[in-house]
Symmetry: C2
């Protein structure tokens, strides 16, 4: 099987674009990714599109109507918050399968207001479906409190995640916000669902991101190896069945399953990873995923955030982009946007927020309901 | 790359099941396909789900909650009327890529009333999206009339498609209807959009179909080669750009593009194909696709239906299942249901409607907006 490389990738600055259509938003990122690769839409042999909220509306094909209707296969994927990563992975798979040498993956979302407020916030989402049996803030609050009960993790430790990620985002011009949020400010913000205050919840924004994937043969043929980043592992999981006492959906097990497989497939361990973009949909989630991804031992996540190891300049910087908490979380775009961030560091093109000497990076998204996607990238 | 085989496949009898949920409907077909393969859900390494109308609701994962939550990757695909075929193809691709040896593909749909009535029939479908600029009946009526203008195709010739497919369905216990519809009855039925009467429009039904796909290695290991059917080609296209005078969406070009590629990839021609399940969403569509798929020369489709060649017992039987016109058309299920029909014939298990000695079969679906999927299967 051919190795697969990212040869072009970009994202729009996340924000609110009520005056644009979903295909228009997707087309912007697609054109940017193509330009980054120095290629055009006529070079693409297939298109994989991730969009959640208009998943039935042929968004991929409508993006092609904006940028060039070439007749190539278009696949539309939806997988909750792993939607964009799923589209990327299916594109990767099509190259692995030897079907194509150059594939475009696009993730895009225009957020309805209040979706994250809970199940039934938008028509068409069944209560037992996407959002599980509780509202999103409640699920991740409860999961955080379970960590507190087991390990004594404090409100301040959870809040520090938000301080860190907001600080990171001041260095990322593509993040929704570039604002420092000191610990006091985070802890004193409006309480949404203890221990997550408003500044500890991901930002509802519109956005898009896109990547051009290529087979090794094509990368060499086009002379693109200099900036190409190898996809060392691409893993997708869903929730395994388990006996649990809690009524809330499990937010941990599919990540643990995916991390184990990702490290095995990549042939590296957590100690080899130089930066991580993980799914901080709430500040509590980042704490849980430190352990789920093996960045520290179980129960040690509070100490890890206290130590500064996950801040830029630390041993294993996490969410240097600002994360979902400050960069923003346009569901279908998020999976490719975090691959953009890691790729940018591996290329040494991340400017003021560059993780120096980064060789391996990991991206992680999780959608309740359930889908977890992990990619390990290598330069 | 490994050859990929269908080792288990089945569909529920199409009908109206308002009391069941979409995941329940999908689970039924999934269990039937697994039973057909003599395998269980624990054997499946990935699940690909096609569902259009709840595309944002994690239908694949919810099917797994019904039949066994194993933690495997689940991908939800949507591609208009090619939704089920797209899920099947992505599953096929994952085996081609060497990622998995056993994969489950499920297609399912619970139809809202009036969707085929036109754009905006259901909330959430943008007017310029899935259904194109005209209503479905208008689009396929206009395309039929264009054929009439160019080649003199008659109302009776279009109507004969419906007579034939309804006749076929009397031999298919899984079709929605088993009713003979003589030519007079078809031509005198309520006019929907000339030349298509109500009996010349596909039937709005609920349904599900599922397939178990396996790598060649696994088929041999499990001793399943006897009933296994090889996927000789799997092709997906979208509408290529073209200059056209008509205001209606083009219903032909993506099929022509796909057929050309499918024959090339399979290394066979139309003369080698023993039966075809094609997308007769309206009677006019079947006439057009005879030519689009190369079953006859351009302009000869009227003569082809007159000759009886496409009826059971003819040279190239088309829609022996009863087709969308009488078996029914549950959007997300249709692509896998027509693969079920062809597979059943290639296995020699089609009972009274068996196409004798069938070795190669072709399936075809097209979704406006646009996606065309063609599979060529071989025993």
């Amino acid at each position: 099987m051919s190795d697969v490389y990212v040869v072009g990738i970009d994202m729009i600055k996340f924000g609110r674009f009520a005056d644009k259509s979903v295909p228009e938003l997707g087309a912007e990122a697609a054109l940017m990714a193509l330009a980054d690769a120095g290629l055009g839409i006529m070079d693409m042999q297939a298109v994989y599109c991730g969009n959640l909220m208009q998943a039935d509306a042929m968004v991929g094909q409508r993006i092609l109507r904006e940028i060039g209707q070439t007749g190539v296969p278009v696949v539309n994927c939806a997988n909750a918050c792993a939607t964009g990563a799923t589209a990327f992975r299916e594109g990767w798979m099509s190259i692995k399968a030897g079907m194509y040498d150059l594939v475009l993956a696009v993730g895009v979302e225009q957020m309805g207001k209040g979706l994250l407020g809970g199940a039934g916030g938008r028509k068409g989402i069944p209560k037992e479906g996407l959002l599980g049996s509780g509202t999103m803030p409640a699920v991740f609050a409860e999961a955080g409190m379970e960590h507190t009960r087991k390990y004594g993790t404090t409100f301040a430790q959870f809040a520090k995640v938000s301080v860190k990620n907001h600080q990171h985002s001041t260095l990322n011009p593509k993040a929704m916000y570039q604002i420092e949020t000191p610990l006091e400010m985070v802890m004193n913000a409006e309480m949404i669902s203890y221990p997550n205050t408003k500044l500890m919840c991901s930002v509802n924004v519109d956005g898009s991101a896109a990547a051009v994937l290529a087979s090794e043969k094509k990368v060499k043929e086009l002379g693109l190896m200099d900036r190409a980043v190898k996809v060392r592992a691409s893993v997708l999981t869903s929730d395994p069945w388990q006996e649990r006492d809690l009524v809330m959906p499990d937010v941990n097990s599919c990540t643990r399953l995916a991390a184990k497989e990702a490290y095995e497939r990549a042939g590296v361990g957590p100690q080899d990873i130089d930066l991580v973009e993980l799914h901080d949909c709430f500040a509590t989630a980042e704490i849980l995923h430190y352990e789920n991804l093996g960045l520290c031992a179980d129960g040690e996540a509070g100490k890890l955030i206290d130590s500064g190891a996950t801040a830029l300049g630390g041993k294993i910087p996490v969410n240097v982009s600002g994360g979902l908490l400050s960069k923003g979380h346009p569901l279908g775009a998020t999976g490719i946007a975090n691959i953009y961030e890691v790729t940018t560091h591996l290329r040494g093109e991340a400017g003021k927020r560059q993780v120096e000497g980064a060789r391996f990076g990991m991206t992680h998204v999780i959608g309740l309901g359930s889908a977890c996607a992990i990619h390990i990238l290598e330069k």
